[in-house]
């Protein structure tokens, strides 16, 4: 069944981190921690993706001395995709943090459930 699990231990670790981030996102009441969990989740996916491009014994895809054989370099595609992904995650983080600041200024708490409780009380 799990034939490659031991070989793919790095992927397994990335998936475990993904699950940890996911749990963080679901469990924590605190918004800041939720955001960190979200970031951890994203980075885990990127690690998973970057591992796809790695080939044993090959070097980084920067052409040295005009050698252009596929046997020399690792797969460049995942690197490019992860680069795009990192940009996405930093912009999302900035947006979430600014939302946090606004929410805190309004309700002086970081707990989403408590905020909705208060909203009910206010009857808005």
């Amino acid at each position: 069944m799990n034939t490659n699990l031991l070989n793919n231990y790095a992927e397994a670790v990335s998936m475990i981190i993904f699950a940890i981030g996911f749990t963080n996102l679901l469990l924590h009441k605190n918004l800041i921690k939720k955001i960190i969990g979200l970031n951890i989740m994203d980075t885990a996916v990127y690690l998973f993706l970057a591992l796809k491009g790695y080939i044993k014994g090959h070097v980084a895809p920067i052409i040295i001395d005009g050698v252009v054989e596929p046997e020399a370099y690792i797969n460049p595609i995942p690197s490019g995709l992860v680069l795009t992904g990192i940009v996405v995650s930093v912009s999302v983080t900035a947006l979430m943090l600014s939302l946090t600041i606004r929410l805190y200024k309004r309700y002086h708490t970081l707990d989403l459930d408590e905020i909705s409780l208060r909203l009910k009380k206010e009857g808005l």
Binding site: N4, L27, I77, V87, S91, A94, L117
Partner: protein, 321 residues
């Protein structure tokens, strides 16, 4: 001091239950005025904590529901990771050359990348030439995030009725609050910043300009320059940065960078798809002025990213550039 094993002290540190370092340390306030403001704030906060405690009494069912939710979430996460692990077990091995991912697509990028894009860094050639549409979208993700943060945090002189201003504080308030955290001409910080900021910014420019030759590129270089600007801002305050960087500069840079990017790529796509010659020379591989559009695009992205990062920080600090 009692001798404890490493594990329990690590656990203590993580849980913050007890810390050898903290107990012996005191934070000295360097400014009396600041102290007064924070004191008032602390009182306010304590009031809020009290209010919270009283609130907590009448929500027993709420707490029960939350407990159930927690258990469900943990079960879900465990199930989730089990599924993922099983999947990983079925995936091809890492690092093998015969994996499905290492197919003819990758081969062409490596074999013909230099010839077709002129970039020694295959990743840069890939993201800015072969798959440039993704990257075009990516830079606009940053743009739209900057716009959203601006909507949220920029404080304008609003002439609206007072009941609406509950959520947005006024500019003066925010600046007052920001002054608390502004370093008061810290000599050490300023000296270090004097030394470091030029180096950081130069390094960022180097990373941008060599994006097609060595690791890096517009985005990482721009982020480094942005970090340098943030350090400068922290050391010397807003008065100094506003001399060369205000909202108008920011808007112009963002617009010209993004519009140049989009139009240049539009031209390249149009020529490529219609089989026209784009008349952009590839140059000699390995030289700075080579690789066709990649270098100008890197510079444009770098400027946009640096400005956006700095703008994020400034918005977070006091709600405006």
């Amino acid at each position: 001091m009692k001798k404890r094993n490493l594990f329990s002290s690590l656990l203590d540190w993580v849980w913050e239950s007890r810390s050898d370092l903290y107990e012996n340390m005191t934070i000295r306030d360097d400014d009396e005025e600041v102290n007064v403001i924070t004191k008032a704030e602390h009182k306010e906060d304590i009031e809020k904590v009290k209010e919270k405690v009283f609130d907590a009494a009448d929500r027993g069912s709420f707490r029960k529901w939350r407990f159930l939710y927690k258990i469900l979430a943990v079960v879900f996460a465990v199930f989730f990771s089990a599924v993922l692990l099983i999947t990983v077990g079925q995936l091809p091995k890492i690092g093998e050359i015969n994996n499905p991912a290492n197919n003819e697509v990758e081969k062409r990028y490596i074999e013909k990348g230099l010839e077709e894009t002129g970039a020694t860094n295959i990743v840069a050639g890939m993201i800015l030439d072969y798959r440039a549409f993704d990257t075009l979208g990516e830079s606009h993700v940053l743009f739209v995030a900057a716009i959203a943060v601006t909507i949220l945090l920029r404080l304008d002189k609003s002439e609206r009725d007072p009941e609406d201003t509950k959520i947005t504080e006024t500019i003066t308030e925010a600046e007052e609050e920001d002054k608390i955290f502004e370093p008061h001409h810290d000599a050490i910080l300023q000296k270090v910043a004097m030394l470091l900021v030029p180096i950081i910014i130069l390094f960022g420019i180097y990373v941008i300009l060599n994006g097609h030759l060595s690791p890096g590129g517009g985005f990482s270089g721009g982020a480094i320059i942005g970090a340098g600007l943030i350090l400068y801002l922290n050391a010397f305050g807003f008065e100094n940065t506003e001399r060369f960087f205000n909202e108008k500069v920011y808007k112009t840079v963002i617009f010209s960078g993004l519009a140049f990017y989009a139009l240049a790529k539009c031209y390249a796509f149009f020529c490529g798809a219609n089989g026209l010659d784009s008349h952009i020379s590839k140059g000699i591989p390995g030289h700075i002025l080579s690789a066709g559009l990649i270098l100008p695009l890197d510079i444009a992205v770098g400027c946009v990213v640096a400005c956006t990062m700095y703008a994020f920080y400034a918005m977070f600090r006091k709600g405006g550039l």
